[in-house]
């Protein structure tokens, strides 16, 4: 089930992430590419040594969005639950559980508590990720 959901989500957000990285790539000064050409760098080496380091903040951004999106996953399990009811039960992801609690079980307060807790966890995870990637940057 997880690879199936991963497949759907990957295709769904590839374009979105691509646009963010494409915009970041526009900010790279073209004379770096000319210097690389003079040095005889291949396409892969240009990507590895010029592009990726210079769009690192954009890559971090897309990673943070992906982490948040995964923690908040709801749509894909919800759709798949009719096709695979033995695998996807009402607590497959936190958001699915909050939804079931609110709209099926009528336990609104419990559902709200779950939503807030999930929000706090997302906040902590994003902060840890950004802290870890920021530490590596030269100051």
């Amino acid at each position: 089930m997880l690879p199936a959901i991963g497949n759907i989500v990957t295709w769904q957000y590839t374009g979105y992430n691509m646009i963010i990285m494409y915009a970041a790539l526009q900010a790279i000064p073209p004379d770096l590419y000319e210097a690389a050409l003079v040095d005889g760098a291949t396409g892969w080496e240009v990507a590895r040594y010029i592009k990726i380091p210079l769009i690192a903040p954009a890559i971090v951004l897309t990673c943070v969005f992906s982490i948040i999106g995964s923690l908040q996953l709801f749509t894909e399990p919800s759709i798949m639950s009719t096709l695979a009811p033995t695998v996807i039960q009402d607590h497959y992801t936190p958001n699915l559980y909050a939804y079931t609690l609110a709209f099926t079980n009528q336990q609104y307060n419990y559902s709200a508590a779950i939503s807030f807790t999930l929000g706090a966890i997302v906040f902590v995870c994003s902060y840890i990720f950004m802290f870890a990637t920021n530490r590596g940057r030269a100051r």
Binding site: T86, Q106, Q107
Partner: protein, 257 residues
Amino acid sequence: MHKANPQIYMTDFPPGDPGWFNGLSWQAGSRPFKVNGTNVSIHLDDAPALQVANYWGTLINQKVIQTAPDFTNDWYAGLGKGIYATWITAAWGPVFLSGVAAQSSGKWRAAPLPHWTPGATATSNWGGSTDAVTTQSQHPKEATEFAMWLNDNKQSTLELNQKQFLFPVVKSVLSDPSFNAPLSFYGNQQVNQIFASASNNVDTSFQWSPFQDYVYTQLGDQLGSAISGKITFEQAMHNLQNNVVNYAKSQGFTVTS
């Protein structure tokens, strides 16, 4: 039959359709709820329910029936191609089946549901439809009159049955010749007569709970775990009973179990 051709199954046990399972337990004599205001007595794991659960559990473990979700494209194709020999269904089944499994026209017949004790006539209910007028309606009187007309008028109920496969709610339609006509999809059997006689035998002492959504979701979860082999079917019913009792108590009902 399954040994002869491993591709086909006796029938399908839909894991995500607790209403179907509920109908079968009802027919076996299970009466899980008795509701009196906020006093609820809960016996989801009474003997008939366990009997039904164990029966289907054994069949599933022997792999003679499949456990695919129902009302999906794969399931419709399965019915049309003859992968499922039978379909245990309700009175809205005949026209519905002829719509979704059109390629198997002529090969189906209807028969009454088998009973647990020989010679018994108990039947039950699987789902249904209602027409409701909400409090936000700006013309509640007219809406109510229309809802009543929809289910009372002979022409309307005939069309509801023939075009929408809803079981008739008026006796005049039940005895109408067009309702009792032989259907070519079923080899010219008068299919609806079986359902008409079944509708007389539904034991109406069955009661629903005030939180049936929750019960159904939990039943679906537990049956799903049982089908994947994590727990036995009997354990699934006991888990269901415990979960529903705890839920009812936390929602403020006075529970006896």
